[in-house]
């Protein structure tokens, strides 16, 4: 790792660090309290009590009931469970599923897997800000629509979707179950299942300073689902497998802290994000903000820095101690530019220049100023190397 003047982690959308007080709460369960919650003796009872406490804490974060929380191992599992489990539970009523074009791959690919098994899939387009129009969802609803899934916010471009309005449309015009992927929002902005009006909601601890390895699916009482992991009768028979007790405990505590600190965190992040967005747009010519200009996640500042490619920017920023991500094809192992940017109508060439800063509670104004100091020369340097830039400059003359 290079020695740099500063180290700035600006990739909270990828994962956040674990809070020390959360680790503290987990430690007993990594040491003496190691029982299996399914066991009937004291070791088991202690573990089970801890899991039940966490269930209450996670439920409280999103305004649900404890018994509506099903613990899983990651946001991806929650989404697979929701999409496949809800679709299968409803397949006698119909086989039509609706999702948005900017869903995370764990929703999109789950839906595609169902398509291969005989379900029908409609993908609702988004506008150039990545925004899903409730009317557009309405136009895709059918008699046989059994499941609609639209994410609460997209971690890549930050756009917050009108879930409440979409829920009203779905509930008013169909009998479909409505799921929202709140992995990018739960613990970051207010999430209340009753207010949103959804039937199922995914969330993951590592997005709000909790541990990796713990996530949850909130499932409204009475909504039927087919279990995804078959086996024992953990989680009321709906998710088999030995519970990851320490991580679940950590998720509970992180949820409690997030609930308490939510407003403070948002108040801190929003001006930082503004400073970063304004700074980049003013100091880097031919940079554009992606996602919704206002209605976006508090820490999300995503751009396209035209004429240069994301991975090379990312690597040079890394060499200056700054951690970011990009939706360019070269940064994805699948070698495809972000489907999110593409759904927003951004040309492939511009999507290649995607750069995402996602700020977290540790970031400071000094971090932003550091970023704003190191970024422009990096952009210049890469543009000096870029044949696209050369062409553009020539044509402009």
């Amino acid at each position: 790792m290079a020695e740099t003047a500063r180290r700035v982690y600006a990739d909270s959308a990828a994962t956040t660090r674990l809070l020390p007080e959360v680790l503290e709460a987990m430690l007993p369960y990594l040491k003496d309290v190691f029982g299996n919650p399914s066991s009937l003796h004291d070791w088991g009872a202690q573990a089970q009590e801890a899991v039940e406490q966490a269930r209450g804490q996670v439920a409280a974060l999103i305004g649900g009931r404890p018994e509506e929380i099903l613990f899983t191992s990651c946001g991806t599992e929650s989404n697979n469970f929701a999409i496949k489990g809800l679709a299968r539970a409803g397949q006698e009523r119909g086989k039509h599923i609706v999702i948005s074009a900017v869903e995370h791959f764990s929703v999109l690919h789950s839906a595609r897997a169902l398509e291969k098994m005989g379900f029908e899939l409609s993908v609702v387009p988004v506008d150039r800000h990545g925004w899903v129009d409730p009317d557009s969802v309405a136009r895709h609803l059918r008699e046989d629509t059994i499941l609609v899934s639209v994410m609460h916010a997209n971690g890549e471009v930050g756009t917050i979707e009108p879930i409440k309005e979409i829920a009203q449309v779905v509930k008013g015009k169909s009998k479909a179950v409505f799921h929202t992927d709140a992995v990018a929002t739960a613990g970051t902005i207010p999430v209340d299942v009753a207010e949103l009006g959804v039937d199922a909601l995914s969330l993951a601890a590592n997005q709000f300073y909790g541990p990796k390895g713990a996530a949850a699916l909130w499932l409204k009482r009475g909504v039927r689902i087919i279990p995804y992991l078959d086996g024992g009768v953990q989680e009321g028979g709906r998710r088999a497998g030995t519970e990851n007790v320490p991580a679940i405990v950590g998720m509970g505590v992180a949820a409690e802290i997030a609930r308490r600190e939510l407003a403070t965190r948002m108040k801190k992040l929003t001006p930082l994000r503004r400073r970063l967005i304004d700074g980049v747009l003013s100091r880097v010519e031919h940079s554009i903000l992606t996602g919704h200009p206002e209605n976006r996640l508090p820490g999300n500042a995503s751009f396209c820095i035209k004429f240069i490619e994301g991975e090379s920017m990312l690597m040079l920023l890394n060499s200056r101690g700054v951690a970011v991500s990009s939706g360019s094809a070269c940064t994805s192992r699948a070698l495809k530019a972000s489907h999110v940017l593409s759904a927003m109508g951004i040309p492939a060439e511009v999507a290649q220049s995607s750069l995402l800063f996602s700020l977290g509670i540790d970031n400071t104004e000094a971090d932003i100023d550091y970023i704003l100091g190191v970024l422009p020369p990096i952009v210049d340097r890469l543009r000096q190397m870029s044949p696209l830039w050369a062409k553009f400059v020539k044509e402009r003359r």
């Binding site: 490619e309 090379s312 190397m385 870029s386 050369a390």
Partner: protein
């Protein structure tokens, strides 16, 4: 993370021969249909040798390192020798590339070859 070799990182951080040659004898331009990377190679030829090689690249770390490596390998070689630089040679010289970056190494040699071909077809036209 594509784990880049030290050599790749070194070429990426300090790429050789970046730039254009305004009065180039040959220019080769290639774009990668897979990831959208683009490279332009410029060559200056003297006595059937690659007297100067420069490039411009729009692409990832591997693409930039490959371009730099190709330019360095090509410089001073005869045109025939330049045509024989293979993708494999470049990747080897760089100490290997992650599998999902192989298409980038292909791009580099191809752009050089195109520049040489461009020079040759110009020569042929002039002759």
């Amino acid at each position: 993370m594509p784990i880049y070799s030290e050599k790749v990182m070194e070429h990426f951080m300090n790429p050789r021969n970046v730039g254009e040659i305004p009065d180039a004898d040959g220019v080769g331009e290639v774009g990668n249909p897979i990831c959208g990377d683009m490279m332009t190679f410029y060559i200056k030829v003297k006595d059937n040798r690659l007297e100067d090689v420069k490039f411009k690249t729009f692409g990832c770390g591997a693409a930039i390192a490959v371009s730099s490596m190709v330019s360095e390998m090509a410089k001073g070689k005869t045109l025939d020798e330049g045509m024989m630089i293979s993708n494999r040679d470049v990747a080897d010289e760089l100490g290997g590339l992650p599998k999902n970056k192989w298409h980038c190494s292909n791009l580099g040699a191809e752009a050089l070859h195109k520049a040489i071909e461009d020079y040759r077809s110009k020569q042929a036209r002039e002759a």
